[in-house]
Symmetry: C2
Subunit: 340 residues, 2 copies
């Protein structure tokens, strides 16, 4: 691609580069006639200011990086949508990378974004990640950083979260309130904080209702998908045919549980009540309609971007910035799958 | 954010900037001792090459732009995933923008990407867009451009498409083959080419089977969502209670149709057979499972990126590039909702 330079415009019109530059910026010390000539020629030649040169001058790229585990996950695609919109309204473009739940890939992507000199980074960690060296690297370089949803508790940066433990507690309590006495939990992987916290909430709810915790009723997903929901529910009914409640780490897994029950003519909610997590769109259109925990994805995206913007502004002004953690509310949505 | 420069490293070590630069690039005319000292200092100071300066030199940004109508749409989120992965493997980052089906926003976004000097642009047009001035602008500047899925037929750029007319024909023929005699079409908006083509395919299938076309059996979506599917199916059964087949522009609309039927105890597929388009994930988990047209989203994303890469390489080498159109195969997936 051939790019027209200020110099070419200057040479063509027989004026200085400075005059061309000033004319394009509407400086008052350039005559209207010259301004008109410069602007017309610039338009005819498809001149665009060289953004690399602009970047060199301003030291801003007006670009932010966003790393998420999985683009096609309903929850994350909603967050992407909110972040892109908020960024665009504030004059920022968004480079999106997906870690595919791999720490190695995530580290590489952080390096790419640092080399690209993005003005800030938004990240939701992969299942393998924690407060690792790549996070430290961002912080050491004083690049604005906000974690959301899947965070490292100890990282010294801003965070947007929900109270996963409370939400896990509420989901389990909801099943108990609706009559369940033997509740299984299909949990997420062992490492991610949100998976740990939802599991702890489940345990705590059993405990405060005097229901003994049985580790055999806990199944651990690796991939957190439909197939695992289906398979673990099959195992569950083979091993514990008297189970009467299932709390699944996410709606996708819960939908797998419903698919098994539908197939085996196990009546949901009569024989077993099921609750998921995240409120995916499909939860309201499957049969039976799935009860779930509403996680405010849109609000999470907006809040994460706004925190990043605050820090980018502060860094630019070289003023101090104290990281914040914002916790968003969740709520139980009762649909058919858990109704008493 | 404070960035370390080559100059600072040179001053600290008392050597020239050129030597520092050469040492970092492993030139053979710099001693191993100096290289080691430079590299260690660079690492300690968190030195990263200034990508803006690198960009100025190479005239490449190693960044591409991707504009799509809607990030959260299942089909597009799959495409985003494929494009990001393919781009990353080839050393490109992807800036993603969503037009929200607005021509005005899409034009603004094209300007943003041009100003950002991306190396190429991938676009799936908004419902309001066609071969408009912003597309011409990209082509005039010789910026590599590939359209996919929602394209402007007359634009002189590479394209990745499916044969929407054939796919619409096949979907309708499938309903006819399974016994339908009075088939409604819930179509997409009037402007987009893929919506027109699917509608033409529907008409042609009726015609070649000797079924008279009745424009009253065609309902036109504006938003192409679940609610419109539900509402138009309600209208359809009020106006034509003897309808026995529905072909919907996309699975989301078809799922709305199923929801109405389920609610009204209209038996699918006994009373009415339904087929959607795109093969969203939820289509295989709802009741009844939805028949649909498989659209190869993953392959479409990869193919679009590869075409763009071909053109970017050609432009860089200043060799000529002739745009290509690649058509991908679709296929009917028969599930419960259309079974005879």
């Amino acid at each position: 691609m051939k790019n027209i330079t200020l110099k070419e415009i200057a040479t063509t019109l027989g004026i200085s580069i400075t005059t061309v530059s000033k004319a394009l910026k509407d400086y008052s010390d350039v005559s209207e006639k010259t301004k008109k000539a410069v602007k017309e020629l610039a338009e005819n030649l498809n001149y665009t200011p060289n953004s690399f040169a602009v970047n060199l001058r301003t030291k801003e790229s007006k670009t932010i990086g966003l790393i998420i585990p999985e683009v096609t996950h309903h929850f994350f695609s909603n967050i992407i949508k909110s972040i892109i919109d908020a960024a665009e309204k504030n004059g920022y473009l968004v480079i999106i990378l997906q870690s595919n739940e791999s720490l190695e890939l995530e580290k590489k992507q952080v390096d790419l974004l640092i080399n690209k000199r993005v003005d800030g980074i938004l990240i939701s960690l992969s299942n393998e990640s924690n407060n690792d060296s790549h996070i430290q690297d961002i912080l050491n370089r004083k690049i604005p950083l906000v974690m959301f949803d899947k965070i490292a508790k100890l990282a010294k940066c801003s965070k947007v979260v929900i109270d996963d433990q409370k939400a896990g507690f509420d989901a389990t309590q909801h099943l108990i309130d609706n009559g369940c006495k033997k509740i299984a939990h299909i949990r997420g992987p062992l490492n991610p904080q949100n998976s740990i916290d939802r599991y702890l909430g489940y345990k705590k709810a059993l405990e405060s209702n005097g229901i003994p915790f049985d580790s055999k009723l806990v199944y651990t997903c690796e991939k957190v998908n439909f197939e695992e929901g289906l398979e673990f529910t099959k195992q569950l009914f083979e091993e514990h045919p008297d189970v009467d409640g299932i709390f699944a780490i996410t709606d996708l897994v819960a939908v797998g549980a419903l698919a098994y029950c539908n197939d085996q003519k196990i009546n949901v909610p009569k024989d077993v009540k099921v609750i998921g997590f995240s409120n995916w769109f499909m939860s309201q259109v499957i049969t039976p309609k799935l009860s779930t925990v509403e996680q405010p994805s849109h609000e999470m995206g907006i809040t994460a971007f706004n925190l990043l913007l605050e820090e980018m502004v502060a860094r630019k002004e070289e003023s101090e910035y104290i990281p914040k953690t914002i916790e968003l509310e969740t709520q139980i949505i009762e649909r058919e799958s858990s109704r008493n």
